[in-house]
């Protein structure tokens, strides 16, 4: 599997670190049921067979965080975008 880093170009997946689901948002720790919200945020992750938006980090390259939309069954990549481009 190769990932086309918007800065570096196409690189082997070994150059990247995988963080996981890019669709979940960190809960507000001030809300009354924060403990339950964090439990769901940290542990109850979906594991879809198909299209998935996920975070990858180009750790062996330019150190960009990327949002990659990937088909988990085929590794076919639909879109790649930089997170927080300067």
């Amino acid at each position: 599997m190769q990932i086309e880093c918007p800065f570096c170009g196409k690189r082997d997946a070994h150059e990247f670190a995988y963080l996981g689901d890019a669709t979940v948002a960190r809960p507000d720790p001030a809300v009354p049921d924060a403990a339950r919200a964090f439990y769901e945020y940290v542990y109850l992750r979906d594991n879809p067979a198909g299209s998935h938006r996920e975070l990858w980090y180009h750790s062996a390259g330019c150190h960009s965080w990327l949002v990659v939309t990937r088909d988990t069954r085929t590794h076919a990549i639909e879109t790649i975008a930089q997170v927080g481009a300067r």
Partner: protein, 201 residues
């Protein structure tokens, strides 16, 4: 009794002795670049345009937005990430003053950190330079894919490397973290032995 000042020691000092004397017809020539001033430059939020104008005005260099090396005279800037560069001054008699000068000039638009003692740079050239690098670098260096002025951040033998191409000889320069200079030299010598290596100082 006061502490003695440590003697300056170049990063590759003692690490290339295994090569011995100059090999006639060597496929690879190694040359440590000991006289460089190095500094990382990172654009402040929303200030990359201003920083680019400063670099253009000061050095006549268009700040590369891609993994490229842009140079004029003794100064070069290499794109190392979005909004990030490695700045280099050749033949610097006073490396620390380069970062200090950049920090003053880029105040408000860029953050500067001296890396003159933090990175070690070695020049790899010769007709078999591509062959030896292909043993460790997962980046296509074929002339169709990579040429003079191109740069790449990657890893060789698990050592983080920043590589850029100088000319079509081909000549490459590679920066590694200084503490990895010995391990990287070992990899170069072991991987290049079959082509014949010459070391220049």
């Amino acid at each position: 009794m006061s502490d003695p000042m440590p003697n300056p020691r170049f990063a590759f000092a003692g690490h290339l002795t295994a090569i011995g004397s100059l090999v006639a017809g060597a496929g690879i020539t190694l040359m440590p670049k000991d006289d460089l001033a190095l500094a990382t430059v990172i654009a402040r939020k929303g200030q990359a345009g201003v920083l680019g104008e400063r670099v253009q005005a000061l050095f006549g260099i268009p700040l590369p937005a891609r993994p490229k090396r842009a140079a004029a005279g003794k100064i070069a800037f290499i794109g190392t990430g979005p909004g990030q560069w490695l700045a280099i001054e050749e033949s610097s008699g006073d490396p620390q003053s380069f970062a200090a000068k950049l920090a003053t000039e880029f105040a408000g638009s860029g953050s500067v950190c001296d890396q003159s003692d933090g990175r070690a740079v070695i020049r790899v050239s010769g007709p078999r330079a591509r062959h030896v690098l292909a043993k460790g670098l997962p980046v296509d260096l074929h002339p169709r894919a990579f040429g003079p002025g191109d740069a790449a951040l990657s890893q060789i033998a698990l050592i983080s490397t920043l590589l850029w191409q100088i000319d079509e000889a081909p000549t490459y320069e590679i920066a590694v973290f200084r503490s990895m200079a010995g391990s990287f030299a070992d990899w170069l010598i072991a991987s290049g032995a079959e082509y014949g290596i010459a070391a220049m100082s």
